[in-house]
């Protein structure tokens, strides 16, 4: 009986992301199937690795093989083209009386996590065997896998535990797929969040737009985040339609950034008594700079915000483009605010770029409003 590959498990240890893949699911409705790869299965599941955790120990995948009963072979897996997980083996595999190898640890010999950053990879291996060192390698399988690499273990709203089918807050592969395109090739958390902010603002084909209709209410993010609707929208469906406001943008940026390891919250700036005037802005999906909805005021504004969401912490705002530097200096460039401290009035930071000069003192950071909306 020739050697056959039965299954491969990337997430073999749901309690740790150091020696294996992260706990993920496909989307709100579908969990991943473990093992992620099973011979003959039509729909194979993806896997994701957190770079910061994976580079600190030996990562292995778990394989299962079948072959001649009571025999020993050497196997190896060679990348079809260079990829993040690198080669496996050669290493010996023993088969029991039934021809089953049982679960076998397959250490990654030279993975390339440290140079992968945030990315989506197509990993293909050719699996070969030989009985003796002097024999030629004989291929017995070729496998293909979708692998995501993120900078760190995803943070809330994403959870790692409990790893059960009913936990819809496990990171979604469908979210990772979008986030890894938006933040592709980034190696720092700030860089990843910034790229996600810029990518959201630059969404094309009228998929998303700020609309003044009905008071510009939150469309995707009232209480919880309709991430399923948003993904549907991004893949060409209707979802909940194109309209978004600042809360929606803050929620999308933070949720997608946190999927790749950032640690951002959604938090507001406002004055409880009065709206605040803003500078001339270009809103997401709108072609020009102008006064917001003809009035140039916000009831509140919400952004993805780092740390404790205070004046000293950085904001990532995909809802607006602003002129920089702030008045009274002459505007020189257009900026989509990402990774800029909120700041105090007249420091030249985000608060000054957003709020009109006379309203900077009432556009106040409200860290008590910070939250991370659950996804559904």
């Amino acid at each position: 009986m020739p050697t056959q590959l039965v299954s491969l498990t990337f997430n073999h240890n749901p309690l740790s992301a150091r020696d294996g893949a992260l706990n993920i699911r496909i989307n709100a409705r579908r969990p991943v199937q473990l093992p992620e790869w099973v011979t003959g299965r039509i729909s194979q599941s993806p896997a994701a690795y957190a770079v910061e955790e994976a580079i600190t120990s030996t990562v292995f995948i778990e394989g299962r093989f079948s072959g001649n009963p009571n025999s020993l072979v050497n196997i190896r897996a060679v990348p079809v083209s260079p990829h993040v997980l690198g080669p496996i083996g050669p290493l010996p595999i023993g088969f029991g009386p039934s021809g089953d190898s049982g679960p076998v640890r397959l250490p990654l010999r030279s993975p390339n996590f440290i140079l992968s950053g945030v990315n989506e990879h197509e990993v293909r291996w050719v699996w070969s065997e030989r009985a003796n060192e002097m024999d030629a390698w004989v291929p017995f399988a070729e496998t293909s896998h979708r692998i995501f690499t993120v900078l760190r273990t995803p943070t809330r709203p994403w959870l790692q535990q409990p790893f059960v089918d009913g936990n819809t807050q496990l990171p979604w592969a469908d979210v990772l797929q979008v986030a890894c395109v938006w933040a592709r090739g980034t190696f720092s958390l700030r860089e990843a969040a910034s790229q996600i902010t810029l990518a959201l603002f630059a969404t094309e084909d009228e998929r998303l737009r700020y609309s003044c209709t009905a008071g510009a209410p939150s469309n995707y993010s009232f209480q919880d985040f309709d991430c399923t609707g948003f993904l549907e929208r991004m893949s060409g469906g209707f979802g909940r339609g194109p309209n978004v406001n600042c809360s929606d943008c803050a929620t999308i940026v933070s949720t997608f950034s946190n999927a790749v390891g950032c640690d951002l919250s959604q938090s507001r700036m406002f004055n409880p008594v009065t709206p605040f005037a803003v500078n001339t802005l270009q809103l997401i999906g709108q072609p020009h700079f102008g006064a917001v909805c003809g009035f140039g005021v916000f009831n509140y504004h919400e952004v993805a915000w780092s740390g404790g969401c205070t004046e000293a912490d950085d904001v990532f705002d995909a809802c607006v483009a602003v002129f920089a530097p702030a008045a009274p200096l002459l505007p020189l460039t257009v900026v989509i605010p990402s990774g800029i401290p909120f700041g105090f009035p007249n420091q030249g930071f985000y608060r000054d770029l957003l709020a009109a000069p006379g309203a900077r003192s009432i556009c106040q950071a409200r860290p008590m409003s910070r939250q991370r909306r659950l996804v559904f």
Binding site: A214, G215, Q223, D224, G237, F238, R240, V273, F376
Partner: protein, 252 residues
């Protein structure tokens, strides 16, 4: 929602005036509501149901009518909460989601226990019992929201005329309500278990008099004095009805 914002919204929208709306007379408690489509434009574009927290269920759908080759969509969210108080709190929170200033007035009355509508009529929201309904016409008033709100409210509050009456199990067993003040959903003949797909769970309406009903975890908890009328939807729009009366505690 931060306490500062909550306080400001309560003052701005006169929360004290309407927080008790619907508390007099017959009370309504709903589980697993589904939009039938009869009350909406004819084409379903998108739908999903999720349970995002204990006792909280979101049913969202997008519908469209095609007029002269143009889609006129409307988004309908039906959010179920553990209690009518939670639903009104969510309505208050909804008033804090307007990014730009908009004049709205939250009023008790014609639709729901309490409702508001934006001046352009593109967003209509109401709370009825433990449910918050939010209807948005994303392209402005190309699809009128009020008639949809009125129809959904009628669907929520109507008592199925052809319901088949069945005996209440606790009456049959003679268990005094005071001895078991909280009743598991299964005792009421309700499906609260989480092992069913959300979309398979039956729509249930509980009308109560003399007290309220709320959800604690997966347990339906009526006030001990509440008289219940429980309707449960079966396939093909058939319904069962149970009437459950409080059972006096025997004198010792």
């Amino acid at each position: 929602m931060s306490s500062g914002l909550t306080k400001a919204l309560k003052a701005r929208y006169k929360f004290d005036r309407w927080k008790g709306s619907g508390d007099a007379g017959e009370q309504l408690f709903l589980m697993n509501f589904r939009v039938s489509g009869d009350e909406l434009p004819n084409r379903l574009l998108s739908t999903r149901v999720a349970r995002t927290a204990p006792g909280k269920r979101v049913n969202t759908s997008t519908w469209s009518t095609e007029v002269a080759g143009e889609d006129r969509p409307v988004v309908v969210d039906v959010l179920e909460y553990p209690s009518s108080e939670d639903a009104k709190q969510a309505l208050l929170e909804l008033t804090g989601q307007f990014h730009r200033p908009v004049e709205i007035s939250v009023d008790a009355g014609d639709v729901g226990d309490v409702r508001f509508v934006t001046p352009d009529n593109a967003l209509f929201a109401f709370a009825r019992g433990n449910v918050l309904v939010r209807i948005v016409s994303p392209n402005g008033l190309t699809t009128p929201t009020r008639p949809i709100a009125e129809q959904i409210d009628r669907n929520l509050t109507s008592k199925p005329a052809e319901a088949v009456s069945v005996a209440a199990p606790e009456e049959a067993s003679g268990v005094a309500r005071e001895a078991a003040p909280t009743m598991a959903g299964v005792e009421l003949g309700l499906q609260t278990a989480t092992d069913l797909d959300e979309e398979e769970k039956p729509f249930i309406k509980i009308f109560s008099t003399g007290g309220k009903v709320k959800l604690e975890g997966d347990t339906v908890v009526p006030d001990s004095s509440a008289e219940l009328e429980v309707y449960r939807q079966l396939p093909k729009d058939q319904w069962t009805q149970r009437k459950i009366k409080p059972i006096p505690v025997p004198e010792s």
